[in-house]
Symmetry: C3
Subunit: 350 residues, 3 copies
Amino acid sequence: MELVKNAWYVCAWPKEIRAGELLARKICGESLVFFRDDAGEVAALEDRCCHRELPLSKGRIEGGTIRCGYHGLRFNGEGKCVECPMQERIPPAATVRKYPTVLRHGWVWVWPGNPQLADEGAIPEIFARNDHRGWTSCGDVTFVKGNYQLISDNLLDLTHETYVHSTSLGSQHVVEHPIHVSHDDRSVTVQRLMPDHEPAPFWKAMLFEKLGRHVNADRWQVVNFIPPANIVLDVGVAPAGSGALHGDRSAGVEGCNLNAITPADDESTWYFWAFSRNFNQADADLSRKILQSVAGIFDEDKDAIEAVQAKMKEQPDRETMSLVTDKGQLIARRLVKGLIESEHTRKASA
Amino acid sequence: MELVKNAWYVCAWPKEIRAGELLARKICGESLVFFRDDAGEVAALEDRCCHRELPLSKGRIEGGTIRCGYHGLRFNGEGKCVECPMQERIPPAATVRKYPTVLRHGWVWVWPGNPQLADEGAIPEIFARNDHRGWTSCGDVTFVKGNYQLISDNLLDLTHETYVHSTSLGSQHVVEHPIHVSHDDRSVTVQRLMPDHEPAPFWKAMLFEKLGRHVNADRWQVVNFIPPANIVLDVGVAPAGSGALHGDRSAGVEGCNLNAITPADDESTWYFWAFSRNFNQADADLSRKILQSVAGIFDEDKDAIEAVQAKMKEQPDRETMSLVTDKGQLIARRLVKGLIESEHTRKASA
Amino acid sequence: MELVKNAWYVCAWPKEIRAGELLARKICGESLVFFRDDAGEVAALEDRCCHRELPLSKGRIEGGTIRCGYHGLRFNGEGKCVECPMQERIPPAATVRKYPTVLRHGWVWVWPGNPQLADEGAIPEIFARNDHRGWTSCGDVTFVKGNYQLISDNLLDLTHETYVHSTSLGSQHVVEHPIHVSHDDRSVTVQRLMPDHEPAPFWKAMLFEKLGRHVNADRWQVVNFIPPANIVLDVGVAPAGSGALHGDRSAGVEGCNLNAITPADDESTWYFWAFSRNFNQADADLSRKILQSVAGIFDEDKDAIEAVQAKMKEQPDRETMSLVTDKGQLIARRLVKGLIESEHTRKASA
């Protein structure tokens, strides 16, 4: 399994981990159980009792600890056994692995790798708009039966909008405009600017929400990638000629599509996504409409990605050919490959 | 996977490949997509875009070509990319494999092996009655979760009719009459003649359709096999003593059961079958009754064959014992083995 | 697959093998078919025709023999072919394996190993109460997707009652009392005595059935294990202080939980269980209530065991840690390991 283990991954929306309940979720090949301790802080443990291997998620919460549902061993948020019903002495080996977690940018993050390397400062700042005052965000999580890199590939080449999302984001204009790709050793950016055209249905509707009338638009797409698989799409439209493609977006509508792509294992993915906007922020009905639209759009992606995954599994050793629009993907995959190789080197020298 | 690749296989009834639609079907271990080009001719391509591996069957037909549903590459019936939306230059590598197809004897045939060896003359003539003026044919395709040779084994030993089809084709008379087996290096024939008996239910009904009365019958079964798995059953009954077993079948009813047995892979099969008759040809109601009867009979075979397949998978290395009635099967399997070995030899010397 | 093959295993309740019917069941990795011969005796054959591998269980009973449903070969209860429809001479190889069976203690037993070693005297006497005049027994069979030793582990450490069966057999009292473990080279016994307490719900109800009033109880649990996986729980309660914990149980209610744990294969198990009692024996309504309660209790165990099996399959090489209450299990597993090693030694020297 070729996964980057030493990285922060979004593992849940905070509301998914409810007081008194247990949430089982596989992250990066590790089976975890999430719960809230007495202080309401999220804790993440290996989802397996060290005694007779029952998943701890089949137990119950007692005072901020997990009671195993088989023989009653009780573990705190650090993974330490604090009660062993049939014997007074708790064996030192009675522990389960604890995983570092952090609440940041409106999401819960977990570090599945070596906990000594877990630096909170490494959580990507590009997701700040998920809980920023100037932005209103709505989102969800989609389980995709496909390798996580198929999702980042998808987002790094928005050409697919024309064919996969023809009734919402796509139009002939997308494929008619070139992309500009730039990168350094920690990020990739793919940009496409589309001046003066009749906007695609989704953006046409957004612009109408703000302006109350239909106009031709200038459209921008800026895809920012940070490995292993954090992607923000800085996207939007403004009335044609209002200056948006030269820096002044004030007359238009800006969206920010946040994508935290977390491997469940190497064949399936928890795809956390949100759409943030800085217009009509208090309009809850608009938030519902956007949530529904974006969920439908990502279901179209899921359908394509799962078909590709199945095809790759059927014929694992086939080569593919690339086009000019794949440049962002290819660089992104090179960065991820570098991280995986560094982990192997670190392990080998440890 | 031990399959004969250099052979013509029935892949569809013509009506299954509709204008403007895509049909995905695995044939002989290859995942194919079938469609009709502008001229209405059937084309068969590998069901995988060479760019990012989406099955082409998830795309759409545009003017006799397939537009990939992911990034919009468009392929013609030869498998050549004729449009690459984001770049003017179409890379030479942008092709998918094309498979030879032919319409013959009322079926669509495909050649999954080396296209240079695809000789239309090799399509077996024994299926001519499927679209012959003097015969009326009705049939369907049944997907069987079993190796294709289990189906040819089944048809080459009709002893099973007594036990598997006891309410239609079977009776004690079948097992009471010996078989006569003959063969050359390209075919096997198994014949059984059953004079003067009360016919089995299916044939009793057929004879009544023609004569309007119930009589004792002479019955013939002539099974013709051509590898890899083409089988015609020349079968029928005539009033006892009317000379049918000595060449004059005119007083009776003749059926011709056509079986084109196409491996999907080595564990499952597309079983194409038809029943042709030369009596009461214009009677559409009779055709419907026959179609229903034969479908029911083949469902009984499917049930037995799938149980045998499951048992063989559970215990792959078990030996079986054979009886005198297996002689046709054993010769047929020897012919198929010869073809497979020839393919290996050809590859090794290529 | 690490299973003890040379042992008697319960394979069915007698009522499950009905005259004229065929019962297919996998036992200890062997696919068997059970039926009754003309004399009504149970016979067990390999569930596979030696000719073309159809499971014999898809055939039909004819006069105490099985007629294969494919080509009509007929086998008697010894596995010998007694009719071969298409030829007079029956080939000597036309036999299927026959397995020794015995009716004993109200169950049908089968010996999946070397038939020359099948000694009826080896059937454990501890199950005698399943059809003893002084006891009334009710029970069933539960299919569990878990290794058989997970079930014996479960029964050898009743600590789990407090957590898995908290609404029936469990209470805080169980985990507050120590166990006493003894063993020889053919058996293990785990005993727990719990004086003077408010009985757990199941036992409270049983005691009320006999006494007509609620009282505090002395409770005993004596678990007897005989490898590979035969377990009897000698359990009950009596009014506190009535002497039950010192030998005189006459004032209380005695239950005898009989557990015959038969591997289907190494990942799944036929779990035969019964509950025998020596009080209110003729009360059929009480039998129904007990059957329903015990079935519900074992469904709770099944749920835990299947979760453990899935976890072990996910991570096959993980170590576990043991507690003092696991002593019985650990000895039991050592005895089973010894039997498996003996079988390997016997085979190697044979």
